[in-house]
């Protein structure tokens, strides 16, 4: 999945075009228990990092660094 697509999927989940890739995903104003579940599902369906729980996702300092980790083969 390309970065642009990843961002557009996130903007569908968060229901806003405002996605700052330098921001921590868990700091997005629409991050909650429901949107976080959709993020888990997005990752599960598109990347091979199946063990990434919320505690681990929270550790990425930006959406960009999360994406880079996910795209690593």
């Amino acid at each position: 999945m390309k970065l642009e697509k990843f961002i557009s999927e996130l903007s569908k989940i968060f229901e806003t075009k405002k996605i700052d890739i330098n921001q921590k995903i868990t700091n997005h104003k629409n991050w909650d228990s429901l949107t976080s579940l959709s993020v888990l599902s997005l990752i599960d369906a598109n990347f091979r990092k199946s063990k990434l729980n919320l505690t681990k996702i929270e550790k990425f300092k930006s959406i960009k660094s999360l994406y880079e980790y996910l795209s690593k083969k």
Binding site: D32, S33, L34, L37, L40, D44, S50, L52, N53, L54
Partner: protein, 354 residues
């Protein structure tokens, strides 16, 4: 582990649902969510109504109501009942087994085996496995397999993780020896992650006390006490997505079956979201994997698969068209699936108890 069984059938299933119906909206005010968030939660998870037991209604009440119905309609005769196997996590008492209470209230003979099993969302498959094995004993009569829980009594109303989905129910399946196609079972356990789904207090390790009934707020604003059901939502989701599709793929492959040969996938229904994601991941039509139970009655743990069958199974005249796949996943952690032909299912019904 992969197991198989010969010439066992489920001949009847009755589901008993408490009459008391609660709509999602009536619990919303207690969740730490805005109105918009709540409505989104409802839509995505497919929450609608739940049926819950009245204050004094127990597992034995629901079960006895169903068994009496079966006896009255002559679906089973008292003298043909060889065992009551009850799968529950909310027994009437810690001691004695609730199955013995049911035996006594129905005046069943002393030759009846009574057995309680502590299992949750995969409890239907565990119960069937135990029933099939007991039926291998010489001249064993029919088995009443009961899956019943009143978990709504153990859920905090301030916990939007669990409260909007839990419903109560009992199902009684008549399991017996009769010619049938081979039955395949895949059974898997992971006690290392047992903490993902737990009621911490009320057993011997943490007895009830003033301390255990105190509500505490978690990071997401949900309030619950140590006496309430606790579910680690993200971990449970990952567990299901990581284990269930692989399990189904392997049970089919090992037994030389194809996805297309299975007419229905009657899965446990925790919420609509998970079932949709499972059907997408496994490339199964949503029509073949019903997800309508949780929004009508709630998630009733081990009873949800038999309720799913009662509501959605349409028997065909050709035997091969009645081949179905059942799957349960949750507490334990446990995940299990079974491929079984339901051609011998001659009676199924959903009734209410007020």
């Amino acid at each position: 582990m992969l197991l198989n069984f010969k010439d066992k059938v489920i001949s009847s299933i009755i589901s008993v649902i408490p009459d008391k119906k609660i709509k999602f909206e009536s619990g919303m005010k207690n969740y730490n969510f805005s109105k918009d968030q709540n409505l989104k939660l409802k839509k995505i998870m497919g929450f609608g109504a739940r049926h819950v037991a009245k204050k004094k209604m127990t597992v034995s009440d629901l079960s006895i109501h169903g068994i009496k119905f079966l006896i009255k309609k002559n679906i089973i005769k008292k003298k043909d009942i060889g065992a009551i196997i009850l799968v529950t996590q909310t027994p009437d008492h810690i001691i004695p087994p609730t199955s013995n209470i049911i035996q006594s209230k129905l005046n069943l003979s002393n030759n009846t085996l009574c057995l309680d099993i502590n299992q949750g969302c995969a409890g239907y498959l565990i119960g069937l496995m135990v029933s099939f094995n007991i039926l291998n004993l010489k001249k064993f009569k029919k088995i009443l397999l009961i899956n019943a829980d009143v978990l709504s009594k153990k859920v905090s109303k301030f916990d939007r993780n669990s409260h909007p989905l839990i419903g109560d129910a009992a199902t009684i399946s008549v399991v017996e020896n009769k010619k049938n196609e081979k039955i395949f079972l895949s059974l898997n356990m992971d006690g290392k992650n047992a903490n993902f789904l737990k009621i911490p207090a009320g057993g011997i390790k943490i007895p009830f006390s003033k301390f255990t009934s105190k509500l505490k707020t978690d990071k997401s604003g949900n309030k619950r006490s140590l006496e309430n059901l606790f579910m680690k939502g993200d971990e449970v989701y990952l567990f299901i997505m990581n284990t269930v599709p692989k399990m189904i793929e392997s049970i089919l492959k090992k037994n030389k079956l194809y996805l297309e040969q299975i007419k229905y996938f009657f899965f446990h229904q925790p919420n609509k979201f998970i079932l949709k994601k499972l059907s997408e991941k496994m490339n199964i039509d949503e029509d073949k994997m019903p997800n309508n139970i949780v929004g009508m009655y709630g998630n009733s743990s081990g009873a949800s698969i038999p309720i799913n069958i009662c509501k959605n199974f349409k028997k065909k005249s050709t035997r091969k068209d009645n081949l179905v796949c059942l799957a349960g996943f949750g507490v334990g952690l446990t995940w299990a699936s079974m491929i079984i032909n339901l051609s011998s299912l001659k009676f199924k019904k959903i009734i209410k108890l007020s």
